[in-house]
Structure formats: structure tokens, C-alpha cells
Symmetry: C2
């Protein structure tokens, strides 16, 4: 009986030097508390979710992050381009320009795009709106030196969060847009199941489009479509295999831990942060 | 600004002559109660889930269904081929042969395969086990005149229910197996998001592989990964567009309503059945 060859896997990471945390991972914490705690834990990168910036001066918040030795890796998130009418289109484009302004003020070089979808229109129409929207805001981003990463979302989010559901689609769009400022974000949670994943990671690498790499795990069973992500090692995703693909494709950037979990948010965040760093070293 | 062309959609169905119900749709009912109720509602086809056959003589149950004027469309389900050891492999193959025996005894021409996956082994290994398993039981099915339909399952089930997650993969496997007795089951819930859906339906049709067509809807929001399917029309799936693709590809068989829903199972099943038939006429 034949056996498939053992997949290539990346070697364990020796330290936290490439580790980045998304503020949403420790959602109960203010960004100030998060910054202090991440830095104390030895983490050097932070991706900022926009809700963490509410009621704050964005430039000073960027300075605060850097004062803790943190690099600001990206801003999450722009996108949600599909619209029902002209006003909604204008609002979406304006909001994306605001996200670009925030990234520039914060000192984040990248805005991650969760592209959007509307359940009452076709995926093709939503994809047209996404492409139009990125084209519309791209000059604004380019002028400010901000890059945009199209993040394909798992097909279970095709109704209302993204009509871009595979890395193949994200690559197609990023490449078609023809700007060095547009690439893709690879989040293992969204793409791990895809039989063309390895091929598409290499394709993105050759095209210079691998802008971001997000990790967490798919728990089995998963109790909630949105808020039950696992720590690396808690689920079925072969993260080191995907990291090996990323690195083979030339990616040597930040490895960003992004976990949405009602259960973890309800737990002690300092203890949770210890588990995040340990799971990163043990399983990413 | 360009607009995508309006997709082609099938015309409304004039009656219930092609309607089939899965017994799981009205799970609280016994198969006897289901048969009587479906027939009274004007439904002519039934797909039997194996749990509905527990403690029953299968041949007499088939006769009972036919006595109500019902055609037995298929048996759900075989599959779950991935294994950890030799015993589990043997158990899986034996269980699939039992499913084939049950289908033959019931008078069902088709067994639907939910192919299986194991969270602690690679998808490639699970796919090898699936292919081996189908090859192992295929002669047994052929000898009894039973066909097998590989049902691709939504990628959100790739951890533990199926390593076959797109119609492309199901077609590849069905075609590679090289038997007229192996085809695919297209369930709109699992495939609606797929950008290659139309292409793959036509490919399956050309290869003579379109063995089954299941309908329900994807609710937005969906509250549960498994048990929150909607009635046709309650969600975001353009069912008539997919039916048009199926029919263009030559499919003129049963249209099977398969809904898993804790909420509907907790409701009055007779009223629910009325809603099923109405939603079928209004939205399928």
C-alpha cells in the first residue's frame, strides 16, 4: 500500500524574534497594557486592530508602542468594499482612506484587507466591488507609502465577510492590480484546508506578494464560526508545514499570532499571554 | 462602471414531482411517520438516513416506503474511510459494505459518501484512505447494482468529516476511479462559495458523474457549524442559479431537501413540512 511522503516542515523557532501579536488576541487589554505586557514577554511586533485606537491620538500611540521596543507590523483592518448604493460605496472608500491615514499616523507599513461580502448579492458582484474599491484607494495608499494585503477568508465567511475565499483568488486579484503596494496575507486558519495552498504560496512568493503571515489553530471540534480559534498546537493545522512553504517562497517576515476566542478572552490575559508565547515556540 | 451579467437561473418548479426529502430533515419523526407525511404532502422521493433504520427490517421498510408511493432515492451515508490502524480500516470498509447491503435491501440505488477526515493526520493521508476505501468496497457495490456518490463537504468540515472539500476534488477522484458506479453528490450548502463551481458541475456532467443534488440554504448569520441550515430562500445561496448549472449539465434527477437544524427539529414537524414544500416551490 502506498504512503504519501512525510511533508517538509520548518524547524522550531529558536526565539520570539519574529513573533508579533494582534491586539485582538488579548482583546480585554487596552493597547497600553498590551504593549507593556507583550514587551515584557519578549515579543517584538504588534499588529493593531482599529478598535484599540478608539479615543486615542494615533501618532502618540505609535510612539508609545515603539517606546516599548515594539515594531508596528500592520493595521487591521480595511476592506468591506461591497455596497448596496452610492452612499455605501463612498462610505467604504472613505473608511479605507481613514484606515490608510491611521496606518500612516501609527507608523504601520501595511493595512490588512478583509474584503467584504453581502449575503444578498452575488459573489461576483462583491468581487467587482472589492476590485473597484482597492483600485479607488490604492493611489491614496501609494502616496503615503502604505501597502495593502488582501486576506483570503475561509469559505465559511463568504456570506458576509469576504468574497475572496482562497489564496488563488487573492493572488489573482493582487497580481491583476499591478501595483507593488498590493499583496496578500496568508492566515493559516483560512487556507489550511486548500489542496492548492502550497502551489499558491509559491506563486505569491514568486510574484513578491507575500506581505503577511498569520497563525492560530483550527480546534476540532470548533464551537463557533468566528470566536473559537485555538492556540497553535491545539488544533489540526500543520503550522510548521505551512511556515516551511512560506519560507521556501522567500517569506522571512513577522509571524503574527491572531486568535479570536471568547473562552480565552474570558480568561486571565497574563496567563493566556504566557500560553501564546509557549505555543508559538512549541508549535509554530 | 462595468456590471457583471445577470446569472442564468432555472425557472421555478411547477410542482413537487422531482422533490425528495431526507429523513434527517424531519429527524424527530420515525421513518413510518415521515413516509406517511411526505406522501400526504405530495412528495414522491425519500432519502433514508441510516439512523432511521435502526431496529427495523430494512426490506420491509423499503416496501413500506414504496407502499406510500415514495421512490427511495438514496441511502445516507457511507464513507468515513480514514483510519488510524488496521482494525479501524477494516471497520470502515465493513461498515461501508453494510451500507451497500442496506441500500440493496431497501431498494435504494445510491449510497452517499461523506468521506471522512481525521484531525491528527494530513489531508493527503485521509484522501489516500478515502480512495483506497472506495476502491475496496466498489466491487461489492457494483455486484449489487448500487452506485456510490462522493459528496464534497464544505471546507469547515475538513478537520473531521471530509478531506474532500471541493467539487473539483470529488470529480478528480470519481473520474480517476474509472467506474460508472462512482459519481458525485452536489450539495449547494457545501459548494455555493466555490469560484469554480459552474466549471466543475459541467465537468461532472460531461463525465456522467452527477448522481445527486441536495438543497438547503446558508443562513446569514449561521449560528452553528453543523445544525443551523436554512430552508431554501432563508439564506444567501442562489439555488436556482446552481440548479440551472446542474440542468445545463444534463441533470434531471431528484432534488433533495436536506436540512440539519436544531431549531427546526424543535418545532412542529407538520408545520415545518409545509414550509419545506413551500420553500421548495418558491426558491429551488
Amino acid at each position: 500500500m502506498s504512503t504519501e511522503p512525510e511533508p517538509e516542515r520548518a524547524s522550531p523557532l529558536a526565539d520570539l524574534s519574529r513573533a508579533c501579536l494582534h491586539t485582538i488576541t488579548t482583546k480585554p487589554w487596552s493597547i497600553e497594557r498590551a504593549a507593556e505586557s507583550y514587551a515584557r514577554a519578549g515579543i517584538r511586533g504588534i499588529t493593531v486592530w482599529r478598535d484599540a485606537l478608539v479615543d486615542r491620538n494615533v501618532e502618540r500611540t505609535g510612539d508609545m508602542l515603539r517606546s516599548h521596543g515594539l515594531s508596528v507590523v500592520s493595521l487591521c483592518r480595511g476592506g468591506f468594499f461591497p455596497y448596496k448604493d452610492d452612499k455605501a460605496q463612498k462610505d467604504a472608500w472613505d473608511d479605507n482612506r481613514r484606515a490608510i491615514d491611521q496606518a500612516a499616523a501609527l507608523g504601520a507599513p501595511l493595512v490588512v484587507l478583509v474584503c467584504g461580502a453581502l449575503p444578498d448579492q452575488s459573489l461576483e458582484r462583491s468581487r467587482r466591488h472589492i476590485r473597484e474599491g482597492i483600485e479607488a484607494v490604492l493611489p491614496y495608499a501609494e502616496a503615503r507609502g502604505i501597502r495593502l494585503a488582501i486576506e483570503p477568508l475561509h469559505p465559511m465567511y463568504a456570506d458576509s465577510r469576504s468574497a475572496i475565499n482562497t489564496l488563488s483568488q487573492a493572488n489573482d486579484m493582487a497580481i491583476a492590480l499591478g501595483s507593488a503596494s498590493v499583496g496578500v496575507a496568508v492566515d493559516v486558519y483560512h487556507v489550511w484546508w486548500d489542496p492548492s495552498l502550497e502551489f499558491e504560496i509559491q506563486r505569491a512568493g514568486r510574484a513578491g506578494k507575500l506581505f503577511a503571515f498569520h497563525v492560530c489553530d483550527w480546534k476540532s471540534p470548533t464551537r463557533d464560526l468566528l470566536l473559537d480559534r485555538g492556540l497553535p498546537g491545539e488544533g489540526c493545522i500543520d503550522i510548521r508545514r505551512i511556515r516551511r512553504s512560506m519560507e521556501k517562497a522567500g517569506f522571512d517576515g513577522w509571524i503574527e499570532v491572531e486568535i479570536f476566542s471568547e473562552a480565552y478572552w474570558a480568561s486571565d490575559q497574563a496567563q493566556f499571554l504566557d500560553r501564546v508565547t509557549q505555543s508559538y515556540l512549541d508549535h509554530v
